[in-house]
């Protein structure tokens, strides 16, 4: 427990984590201002012209079943933030040599590595939930003064909070993945290159050449978890729970590999 708290404090002190949070806060403020200015003087019909969703209409913050709305936009950035943050926290440890320092205090490597991984995952989830709250709060002035707060039943609120929790979970997964990959490659760049290379390039190729395999891809499964509904325009049917299990399995395998490598490999070079 001590180690977990220490790791969380250290992760929070990382400059990259603070910069990412600051950027997110600036982004929230900017979106809030844009939503307010854009919605000023418009009627509800004008805001929702051609069936578009507008963040000044609270009901449009989250469209249950379709995964649409302002909240879904924030999910992508949070997921990326979690990944970059997690990878940077682990990568910086190797760059600064503090891995050695920590191991002279806690030589049980599995314990040390899993503490760091868990710390990053928990922090990422908490930060993601807090940032989503700030993001939605920044849209409140536009909704209260220019838009609409109508049709908000309990079902919608539960659906919104559940979507926020799922986004927090995905952000945590991103952070855990970042830590694991940066531990495997012993630097931040390796982790980021591996993820972007896989998701942006390899998964695209697989999707094009073998559409039947798309159900096993990260992208499809992550989207399924976020929306918690069947995907449109795909040739397969897959439940969100199966998607969650699939992603959990992938992440567990990568974390296990990182833990094994961290346990076995020497720390430091010959001298």
């Amino acid at each position: 427990m001590n180690l977990l708290v220490v790791e969380m404090r250290r992760a929070l002190h990382r400059r990259v984590v603070r910069v990412l949070i600051l950027m997110a806060l600036i982004g929230c403020a900017a979106v809030g201002v844009i939503a307010f200015v854009d919605s000023a003087g418009k009627s509800l019909a004008e805001l929702q012209v051609n069936g578009n969703h507008h963040p000044a209409v609270m009901r449009d913050w989250w469209i249950a079943g379709g995964g649409d709305g302002a909240l879904s936009v924030s999910s992508f950035f949070l997921l990326m933030g979690g990944l970059v943050g997690g990878a940077s926290v682990a990568g910086a440890e190797w760059r600064a040599g503090t891995v050695t320092t920590m191991l002279t205090w806690e030589p049980r490597r599995v314990r040390a590595h899993l503490s760091r991984t868990a710390a990053c995952g928990i922090l990422a989830a908490v930060i993601a939930f807090a940032l989503q709250t700030v993001f939605l709060a920044s849209l409140l002035p536009a909704a209260l003064l220019n838009g609409s707060t109508a049709n908000l039943d309990s079902h919608w609120w539960i659906s919104l909070v559940a979507a926020m929790l799922r986004t927090s979970l995905l952000t945590a997964i991103g952070a855990v993945l970042g830590v694991a990959l940066a531990t495997l490659g012993r630097n931040t760049a390796f982790a980021l290159a591996a993820v972007f290379g896989w998701i942006a390039i390899l998964e695209g190729v697989i999707r094009g050449l073998k559409p039947g395999l798309a159900r096993f891809l990260w992208g499809e499964n992550m989207t399924l978890i976020l929306t918690w509904a069947q995907l449109d325009n795909v040739s397969f049917r897959r439940g969100p729970l199966v998607a969650l299990i699939t992603i959990a399995l992938y992440v567990s395998l990568i974390v296990a590999a990182a833990t094994l490598v961290f346990r076995r490999r020497d720390v430091g070079s010959a001298s």
Partner: protein, 319 residues
């Protein structure tokens, strides 16, 4: 415990070099560090000092050999042993975005060490006034002192310090030396690797000298110097050095001027022949003594590339 806080037997560490060839960084190393005192671990760059220290701390997995730390086997019981050991490995790696105090508190929290001990240690290493500055703003010397402070947090019985004087100014070096002595006088063991031999000679009770991953000498400083054999030369002080050298040459001695003395290549047991030869040349001796070898001389001799290879299963001097 056997009285040795560090025991190493037949330690070997191989790395894969270029072309897959295996290179031994440590080769059949035996080491016994007794309890209490300062133990100097010497060797030129690349001799295997830091690799040995990394093996002791479980950072590097030995290819073979047995290690025990404070009587406990490594790596099996390292997590118990480490509670009684403070260590710095190579340059001090601290958390740059933490203040000095936060760094120590963060490490102390792992072992549930209280804030009072953190303050004590900050005072001990002279960082009390700069404790709230970020470590990234510290000089190398300050980082070194903070790292030293981190090793003291656990109130350890064994300190493993890898080049602790690196980056320190002369006052800092003196402070570290005094601190090491103080810690040893309190009954702790300080295992210190260094290449500043004058430091070791005046601070250490025992030394081990490493060359190409093997121990070439081990024991008290006096024992190690004695083991290399006495110097086959005498130093003579006389008023007229040139006349003295000439007189000694006439008597058939090899002699030369050296740092205000005449150095005569002769065993100390034959000192009377030197005084007689000088007296015959009307030169009167004011001082005559055997040439002493410093640890540095011995170190350079033992670690020179053309020095004979150490015997396998090196025997500890004076053990």
């Amino acid at each position: 415990m056997t009285g040795n806080v560090i025991e190493v037997e037949g330690l070997r560490k191989e790395y894969r070099g270029r072309g897959g060839k295996r290179v031994a960084a440590i080769d059949n190393l035996d080491l016994a560090v007794p309890e209490a005192g300062v133990f100097g671990f010497l060797g030129p760059n690349g001799s295997g000092k830091t690799t040995t220290i990394r093996c002791l701390l479980g950072l590097v997995r030995p290819t073979r050999g047995r290690i025990s730390l404070v009587g406990l086997p490594v790596p099996g019981e390292l997590h118990h042993a480490i509670r009684r050991v403070g260590a710095i490995v190579e340059s001090p790696a601290l958390f740059p975005t933490f203040t000095g105090r936060e760094n120590l508190r963060s490490l102390a929290a792992i072992d549930r060490i209280g804030a009072r001990r953190v303050e004590e240690v900050l005072g001990l290493v002279g960082l009390g006034e700069r404790a709230d500055d970020l470590v990234k703003k510290y000089s190398l010397g300050m980082r070194q002192r903070l790292a030293l402070g981190a090793t003291l947090l656990k109130d350890p019985e064994l300190l493993i310090l890898d080049e602790p004087a690196n980056g320190l100014d002369p006052a800092g070096i003196r402070q570290v030396r005094a601190l090491m002595r103080q810690l040893a006088d309190e009954g702790r063991t300080v295992f210190v690797s260094s290449h500043i031999l004058a430091e070791i000679e005046h601070t250490c009770d025992r030394v081990a000298i490493l060359r190409h991953g093997r121990c070439v000498a081990q024991g008290t400083v006096r024992e190690v110097l004695a083991s290399a054999g006495a110097s086959e030369a005498m130093l003579v002080k006389i008023d007229d050095l040139d006349a003295g050298v000439a007189a000694l040459h006439r008597a058939g001695f090899g002699a030369e001027r050296l740092d205000g003395h005449v150095r005569v290549a002769i065993a100390p047991t034959e000192a009377d022949r030197v005084t007689r030869a000088l007296a015959e040349g009307q030169q009167w001796v004011t001082d005559l003594r055997p040439e002493e070898r410093s640890l540095e001389d011995l170190f350079l001799e033992l670690t020179a590339d053309d020095a004979p290879p150490p015997a396998r299963g090196h025997e500890e001097v004076g053990a």
